[in-house]
Symmetry: C2
Subunit: 244 residues, 2 copies
Amino acid sequence: MPTTKIEAKNSKTFKGLQTEVQSINRIALSVDCVIFGFDENKLKVLLIRSDLKKYHNKFSLLGDLVKPEEDLDTSAYRILKQRTGLNDLYLEQVHTFGAFGRHPAGRVVTVAYCSLINVQHHKLKTLDNELHWHEVDSVSELLFDHKKIFDLCIEWLQKRVQEHPLGLSLLPNKFSLRELQNLYEAILDKKLDRRNFRKKFFSMDYLVDMGEDEQNVPHRPGRLYKFDYEKYEKNKKTWSGIDF
Amino acid sequence: MPTTKIEAKNSKTFKGLQTEVQSINRIALSVDCVIFGFDENKLKVLLIRSDLKKYHNKFSLLGDLVKPEEDLDTSAYRILKQRTGLNDLYLEQVHTFGAFGRHPAGRVVTVAYCSLINVQHHKLKTLDNELHWHEVDSVSELLFDHKKIFDLCIEWLQKRVQEHPLGLSLLPNKFSLRELQNLYEAILDKKLDRRNFRKKFFSMDYLVDMGEDEQNVPHRPGRLYKFDYEKYEKNKKTWSGIDF
DNA sequence: AAATAATGTGTTTAATTTACACATTCATTC
DNA sequence: GAATGAATGTGTAAATTAAACACATTATTT
């Protein structure tokens, strides 16, 4: 049983706290976005080539410092907007990385967000600048601790797509079941049984038949569906069962 | 299709970045710990009465500012150590709260951590100070946005105990199945079938029979078990299946 | 018209989850 | 020490869910 003295109270005055908050003890805070896309049946991530000479040829996540009067979430949306030109992307906070030596420019704690975007809608925008879509399989080295952040976000995504339909925001509004399955296979890095996959999705009963088929495919076209987010929001599951 | 100009590059020099990181754009960063305990078959949370006159009689989570040269995780462990006297508690980061106006003393972004401790081992320490165990059901008003943080951590816990054995760190090393079930019922706020609960836990096959029975219970004593963390770490599941 | 390639569908089996009841053991009470 | 009370400990049947697996259909291409 440890004998350490325990601090019984918050021993600070409000003024003292204000001083600490407003002068000392400050830290730079940043947001880094892991932006996923899905194209050519591959899961991709949007990276930027660092233009700092010190780090030329290294790619990094898209990030920026949080402004002093900006909500943290707003900051993440701002960065997305700046980089992709879009609001209304799926965005979720994943984890905060705060190891002391993680950034060479000084103490920077960064909050990682994952975003999912439909590559089809943004393909043109990345052609002639330093932004590039990379296949997630081939991401090896990134700036600073960005590889660690990226790896955690991949894990997060794999888990999350199994219990939440966020993955669907990587697809066009209308999609075929083949596209959907390709997406899941790409994210989970695993082959799935086509019949069971369909059965599963149909039984969840959130797919709406659009009454149209695919066009311009070199084989029999598949049916197109959209996802009924409204219905999903109403029927969300909560309890899944103890299992580990 | 939006027409916003997209920032193609990180347009900052390293020096410029250093300036931003080291002078302007700094923010106070804190850690707030939601410390769960389990006692008298109730899920409890450790709160502290604010000693700031402005906020007397309000309870708050246990938190402190992150020091400029301290790892974020280290910070959380330090706070736990200061408040409970213990290292080696289960601790996990949950979410970062960064709304601009959340703290009256200035801009403070806080990282919420959940910690689980065995109340039996620490009961005495909280008797004569401002720390109190509260039943989670009866937590209503907390300082600042701490209720929001607390609510999220409860949700987090409910989900997490179903897919990870962290809940067991709320129990003594040796525990009966009844205690285990009471714990799960308290956390999930739901009655569970005793037979199916046992079957489930036995089938996961991580409970080790200690060859002893409960003592000093006013009825037939139950068998005592411990959890085999080593085995769990080896056999961890990963894939669970698409379902939402 | 034939060949190709992917879509679309159903059944059987196994595994898991749920619902449910009675005998056993220890402590307490009379 | 016999009877009572209260919680432990166990098994089975039914229902649901997941897994494995094969063939007919449709549009395109040759």
